[in-house]
Symmetry: C2
Subunit: 415 residues, 2 copies
């Protein structure tokens, strides 16, 4: 049986590994990048805590021991279910079974012009672009002759207060108040304003109210201004426009929305209202038993609603695919996937994090260590885990961030 997997994120990579163990299966995994990205730590690259290569491992290196997996660097642009082929930018490939795990991308609610003004945080290029803008803003502020320009350059706005927005806000504040404290002669980085904007009534809405309040208090103690119930009406090159006023800034990061990969539309099935592909309890496309959809792209129903677009759902679904394909080959009923909710956590800053597992929730030092442990544990590949641990240990001891290099802007808009 020939299985094609589109996307080597958490879902695709784990699916490939679990299916590769079956007999008489050949796998082709297609990704437009040559690396697998550990997305939960992207904000660390954006804030110079880690290098791009610390959270990106070559897909080939990950899968080199699986002789029945072929890796193709390419981008799929169309799926033809009738002929059982996928069309890439370069060629056409046949499949017996197709697994789609292309994830989600930044979504600006129709305001596509915001994309370049307020980069999101989905890929490595996004992260290095935000890093470039962050450190360049301080450089330009140091040179600015005009006080109002200086103030604008030293104002940083994060839109959207899910875990990514909160993590970015905390890291921005640490950079301004600690990392760069001694580095400039004309500006005081600690006078920067870091503003976190959330349209809803509280930050970290997926957590309980106590944890939201805890995170808000922690952020404010670090000097972050948290604006809830605040709607962004427009973004310009110089300001974020709110319902009742504007914030002058040139450095904005976006984490207020994502939308599923556009590949879903080529399947010719009805999508859910958020653009995801409805699947059955074995991640199968209801209309086509040869196709499976995993991760952020799938709308997987449970009695508590559809599963969220988080790494642990993608990983568990990927790992489960081996069992499903095995049943498929054996012409047996496909087993249903059961999600084991391991809880969620978000880091805010040094010794500050919030954690929630079922009915248990707490914040502070212990939550931060738990966050650190879990992220190191899951970061794929021993080398990276080891290096990341050392870099963090070093940053922790010295309050320094090593990856503060400003590299040229990206050429291609990935979003």
């Amino acid at each position: 049986m020939k299985v094609i997997i589109i996307g080597a994120g958490f879902a695709g990579l784990n699916a490939a590994k679990s299916i590769a163990k079956l007999k008489d299966v050949k796998i082709q995994i297609i990704d437009r990048h040559n690396y697998h990205l550990f997305q939960p730590l992207l904000y660390q690259v954006a804030t110079a805590g880690l290098n791009p290569a610390d959270i990106a491992t070559p897909i080939r290196a990950q899968l080199s021991n699986y002789k029945n997996i072929e890796i193709i660097l390419d981008e799929v642009i169309h799926i033809n279910r009738d002929e059982k082929v996928v069309q890439t930018k370069e060629r056409t490939l046949n499949y017996d079974r197709l697994i789609i795990a292309t994830g989600a991308k930044n979504f600006y609610f129709g305001n596509t012009q915001w994309a370049t003004l307020a980069p999101g945080l989905k890929g490595l290029e996004d992260a290095t672009e935000i890093r470039r803008r962050l450190f360049l803003a301080f450089e330009n502020a140091e040179k600015a002759q005009d006080e109002s320009l200086r103030k604008k350059l030293m104002t940083f706005v994060l839109i959207g207060a899910g875990p990514t927005g909160v993590e970015l806000a905390g890291a921005f504040a640490e950079i301004a108040h600690q990392v760069l404290a001694k580095d400039f002669r004309h500006i005081k980085p600690e006078q920067s304003q870091v503003i976190l904007i959330e349209a809803g009534p509280r930050i970290l809405p997926s957590f309980n109210e106590k944890m939201s309040a805890r995170a808000k208090k922690d952020l404010e103690a670090m000097g972050v201004s948290v604006l809830t119930n605040t709607k962004v009406i427009d973004i310009t090159s110089d300001a974020v426009i709110l319902t009742d006023g504007k914030i002058e800034t040139q450095t904005i990061a976006w984490s207020a929305g994502v939308t599923p990969s556009p590949l879903a539309k080529t399947l010719g099935v009805e999508l859910d209202r958020r653009g995801r592909v409805p699947v059955d309890q074995s991640m199968g496309l209801k209309q086509d038993s040869n196709i499976f959809v995993l991760g952020d792209l799938a709308a997987f129903d449970t009695k508590d609603g559809t599963l969220p677009g988080v790494a642990s759902v993608a990983i568990q679904q990927g790992r489960f695919m081996g069992k499903i394909i095995k049943a498929d080959i054996d012409i047996k009923p496909k087993p249903p996937f059961k999600y084991l909710d391991k809880g969620q956590m978000a880091t805010i800053g040094r010794k500050k994090a919030v954690l929630q597992v079922g009915k248990i929730s707490f914040g502070g030092t212990l939550a931060w260590y738990a966050w650190l442990f879990v992220h190191l544990y899951y970061l794929i590949g021993f080398r990276n885990r080891f290096m990341v641990f050392l870099q963090w240990a070093w940053s922790y001891l010295t309050f320094k961030r090593g990856a503060r290099i400003i590299t040229p802007p990206r050429t291609s808009e990935d979003n």
Copy 2:
């Protein structure tokens, strides 16, 4: 006294540190990047052994403890000696004394169209561009349907066999023959051709003949084809054209020539035939006692000819500038700079290097350890040195290279 230093390379950075210790001196150091680059290890970034941030440290972090140094991220475009000002892209700055240390850039002997076809190795963007092309060539070869295209994609040409060309050739061969050996299904990376081209009669011409021969033997044992007395007539997007034939390839790196920074021309003095600025024995411009020129940009005469454009000359000249400016302030005769030749070394591969100090020269394991030690020692900043050491230890033990990520091409041509 107000001293402006242009360039934060080895010469400029060390000059800043040595002058900053003097009383009543204010320093402005101008660089177009926010980082100081450890150029001798650029080839490691180009071949995925190290991350960009491992060899680049923020200039501000380097100099944050010197309160009389101001760092300006900008590019100097003109020097006006009559008015004692430098003109940057953004503003005009006055100086009492000016130190120019802007180094050299890639030189294509008038064939400027070669620059994009065969990137050199002077900056971080060059290195990540070469890395991108190297790993993308293997990816494209894996997908190629045509045998001749596959062969072309798996041919790598290095032009110029100084230390950089030799180091790149060795690292390319290691990647093809060891690092990627198990990673592909349709190609055998070990069948790649790595070709090192040198116009002169031997490789590493600055070393003695015995070391040149040793390095050639080592490279050939690693599978590199070494072509000496071979002149490149033209470079196209598909081939390197030689006097007597052509090599079909799409991946070419250039290390056959550098030329001093064009800023020298704005001084209005006669340059030497290689475009460098002739200086007196205290690195002073002969026509203007307020100006000093250091490093690759300077033509500093000794009884054995002008000093070479290497890191140790730049470092020593930079460190000596404190003494010269001190004499200048005290209205005393400026001391002459004496270069202490610490020898030279080039690495070829695992446990393979050549080393030459005065009349002593040897190759092999001991030379390689010496090379490793010296490079770790000089790599500025404890954090980087420590991380680089660990990365190397890891690569050494596992034959892996971690930084194999392909990122988008650069936007701006720096050369």
